[in-house]
């Protein structure tokens, strides 16, 4: 794979490949693509098709990409990061990684239950995109949402406590791992079913446009990021929303975290044309393919896409090729994926790569990075302690948020609204 971690080792920053005949993304948005991968995706060839299918299906052997030819990469001034930016990215990625590792520990210790999907390995995507956002910008995530929440600024305490099912969690213990929300940080979910967050994200982007054009709020230039995976890209809501977003030029970026696996279904076995980014141009929007294990490349692509959305030039589809270092969820024994494939991606760990890049480019020394790790360790110890000590949700909470207006529980036999009954505030009423 040409987008290996060694790219980081080059003294000069490696840009997101922009083909030499393409001046910039905005000048020709539909022809922008990731360079440097002679064949698409890192999966072993055997995964693409079962070499000995039980049925004699005539499957055309044509999955090799025709898209990406290796071309010369040239340096891009935008690629440079300052020391502060580098440290911020590093800290956010470390936070994401350490948080998830702590989740695994806490899960096995019986502190949290249910389905817990960890983000290890994909940090470059969350960090690369979300750290470029303003607080007013919106993020829509999936069931693998802890790290998106953290990148968006939701405190580790609030996320951890939510996972512990405590009243101090960001959703008062009512959401859980797959339903993280923060109104303050404009994180509007946390969607546990495949694809269902994309229309909601499209709606948030529609709101931005509506506020600017109908309500005449000149400052409403907010951008929405919708994160989802490769599996989602075979779901109708994805296509329906690509269409609507392009049709109305909505300020949204569709960020595909293609980690090659939908639980146990290889992307290559599930998708007729595995190059997801190509579906952008098909809908009249920019489509970009980027190495999702390289935070600086992701950031570069994200910057373009976010700027495009913010100036009203419409949506972008970005495919980030990445990999999850753990099973689908903590309940997944992860026996299916080829150890060689796992090892190959492990060698391209986005955090190690950034670390190496920063040290080699003298943006930080070992000591500084160590102290960030130490700081995050402390943050997480504090988060766990906080969550552990936090109270469980009281019974009185049970009926509080079923309706925004509790009149929705209706009128009781006595002619009063049922929510006036003390049993509703106590949470003991039958509804």
């Amino acid at each position: 794979m040409s987008f290996s971690a060694t790219n980081f080792a080059q003294p000069r920053p490696v840009p997101v490949g922009i083909r030499s005949n393409e001046k910039s993304l905005s000048s020709d948005p539909f022809r922008f693509r990731f360079r440097g991968s002679p064949s698409f995706l890192g999966s072993p060839h055997s995964l693409r098709f079962n070499p000995t299918p039980p049925l004699k299906l005539a499957i055309p052997h044509c999955r090799r990409s025709t898209a990406a030819a290796v071309t010369d990469v040239k340096s891009s001034a935008n690629m440079l990061i300052t020391k502060e930016e580098g440290l911020e990215l590093y800290e956010d990625m470390i936070l994401g990684r350490f948080f998830e590792d702590m989740c695994a520990q806490m899960y096995y210790r019986g502190k949290m239950f249910g389905f817990v999907h960890l983000y290890n390995g994909q940090e470059a995507v969350s960090t690369g995109f979300i750290k470029l956002l303003k607080k007013e910008d919106t993020v829509v995530s999936t069931y693998r949402d802890h790290v998106h929440a953290l990148s968006k600024g939701v405190p580790a305490r609030a996320v951890m406590s939510e996972l512990f099912g405590k009243a101090t969690g960001c959703c008062r213990g009512q959401g859980g791992s797959m339903h993280m929300f923060s109104k303050e940080h404009n994180l509007i979910g946390g969607f546990a079913f495949i694809g269902e967050g994309i229309p909601v994200a499209t709606g948030a982007a529609f709101s931005s446009k509506y506020r600017r054009e109908v309500l005449k709020e000149a400052s409403a230039d907010h951008v929405t990021l919708a994160f989802f995976g490769d599996g989602t890209c075979n779901n109708g809501q994805f296509y329906e929303c690509l269409n609507m977003a392009a049709l109305w030029k909505l300020p949204i970026i569709f960020v595909v975290e293609n980690n090659l696996w939908a639980i146990g279904m290889s992307h290559l076995r599930a998708t007729s044309d595995p190059e997801i980014w190509k579906k952008g141009p098909a809908f009249g929007m920019a489509g970009v393919h980027v190495d999702g294990m390289d935070v600086l490349k992701v950031r570069e692509v994200a910057k373009e896409a976010i700027e495009r959305a913010r100036r009203g030039d419409g949506p972008t589809l970005v495919e980030c090729e990445t990999y999850r270092f753990r099973g689908h969820s903590l309940a997944d024994p992860d026996e299916l994926r080829d150890p060689a494939e796992k090892a190959r991606y492990a060698a391209r760990d986005p955090i190690s790569a950034l670390k190496k890049y920063m040290i080699e480019n003298k943006l930080a020394n070992e000591q500084e990075l160590k102290s960030i790790e130490k700081k995050i360790d402390e943050v997480l110890d504090d988060a766990v302690e906080f969550s552990d000590e936090s109270p469980l949700p009281p019974r009185s909470q049970l009926l509080e948020n079923v309706f925004a207006d509790s009149k929705g529980f209706g009128i009781g036999p006595d002619g009063k609204y049922r929510c006036e009954d003390p049993k509703f505030t106590q949470g003991t009423a039958h509804v």
Binding site: P199, S207, M244, G410
Partner: protein
């Protein structure tokens, strides 16, 4: 595409002659309105539960003489204005769009085409294409988009061109519309209205003749109302738009051309209250939407036979107005439910359970529930007629119950 033809053909919005069904039903609540008008502004939007005093409440809503009798039209001509049900919905919608710029409409053909039943006619010209947004035919996604817009500050009304199409949006309605307020720990509200024509029409075939109340009723966090007159259509539309809760407003394909005189003054109804259609002593008949008119037809016969039925349009399908229902049960001790919903797991079934739980001691006879048949709505007119409850069945059910 099927619905487009249905929209133009089956219900021609501007032909007052309309269908058989609505012709029969033009009169019933007229009188009540004229009474209401003369009292001035008694149509108060009850925003504060404390106002709910039992004594005044019932009187305010009383629609005393819904069984058509002669001479009742004379008084109503004085004030208010006469319009068709779809125009009443439109009027409510327009008033709310005028009042609040965050109110917007999205759905298939709601804009330039004016809605397949013309509920949004002319609104796109007035308010522009963004506020009255014609969407591609992608129910799940545009409903989800409405939810996202509602979470981020807008107040969208999503029109299902036909209620049946909302089955394609079921995931968004159930998971996101119904649950997000809860799962977000109360952080996000979803002030959305999902509305559209449903019910059994005139030979529209199975898929366009769905009775979906049963499907939606167990979604937590959603309120459901069904309109049945131009007056309550407008009042419920406005109430639904103003509600902070997600509301599904059921309209009926056969009722769009009902004509009624409604007040000129602004009014908003309560989403949670039932409507007394005809007070009586012998039996409580609970109904809603189109079946209200089958019940009133039966009531005429019953009155002639010496019965005095009390007819209540429950209007709020979720939650039930247990006060109005309870008061009636305590008075008549007999209950007949007449609905168009599916029998299994339908509104009638839930209503039966609620009455049994709350008012069992007041019942002198088992509750009888007349629902439509659990069959895919047949195309043939005869079969379709046998699918839904007919007035004659109501008459004989009352006769049996009152023996």
């Amino acid at each position: 595409m099927a619905t487009l033809f249905q929209g133009v053909g089956a219900v021609t919005p501007f032909s007052a002659s309309s269908s058989l069904d609505s012709n029969k039903l033009l009169l019933p609540s007229r009188k009540s309105l004229s009474i209401s008008d003369s009292r001035g502004s008694i149509f108060v939007y009850r925003s504060d539960a404390l106002n709910l005093k039992a004594a005044t409440r019932k009187q305010d809503l009383l629609i005393p003489n819904a069984v058509a009798t002669k001479g009742e039209t004379s008084t109503s001509a004085k004030s208010g204005h006469e319009l068709l049900l779809f125009e009443a919905l439109r009027e409510g919608l327009e008033e709310e769009m005028e009042r609040d710029p965050r109110v917007c409409v999205m759905g298939e053909d709601v804009g330039h085409y004016g809605g397949s039943y013309k509920v949004t006619k002319g609104l796109a010209e007035k308010y522009g294409d963004l506020r009255v947004l014609d969407t591609p035919i992608a129910e799940n996604s545009f409903t989800g988009m409405g939810i996202g817009a509602a979470m981020t500050g807008l107040r969208p009304i999503v029109e299902g061109m036909n209620m049946g199409f909302l089955l394609l949006a079921f995931n968004q309605i159930s998971n996101n519309c119904g649950m997000l307020h809860y799962t977000s720990g109360g952080q996000f509200t979803i002030p959305i209205v999902i509305r559209g024509p449903g019910g059994v029409g005139r030979q529209l075939g199975a898929e366009h003749s769905q009775r979906l109340e049963s499907y939606f009723q167990s979604i937590p966090g959603i309120q459901m109302v069904a309109c049945s007159t131009p007056y309550n259509a407008k009042g419920l539309m406005k109430a639904a738009i103003r509600s902070e809760n997600p509301v599904i407003l059921f309209e009926h394909v056969l009722l769009y051309n009902l004509k009624e005189r409604i007040p000129d003054e602004e009014y908003v109804l309560s989403l949670e209250e039932a409507e007394m259609v005809r007070p009586g002593e012998h039996i409580t008949i609970l109904t809603y939407s189109r079946m209200r008119y089958h019940v009133m037809q039966a009531a005429k016969t019953l009155v002639n036979k010496g019965y005095d039925p009390e007819v209540i349009d429950i209007r709020s399908l979720k939650p039930f107005d247990l006060y109005t229902i309870g008061c009636s049960v305590k008075k008549t001790h007999r209950v007949l439910i007449v609905e168009e919903c599916m029998r299994t797991g339908g509104i009638g079934a839930s209503l039966t359970a609620a009455i049994t739980e709350n008012f069992h001691d007041y019942l002198d006879a088992p509750i009888v529930c007349l629902s439509s048949q659990d069959v895919p709505t047949p195309y043939a007119g005869t079969l379709e007629e046998w699918t839904v409850v007919q007035p004659a069945q109501i008459v004989s059910a009352v006769e049996q119950l009152c023996q």
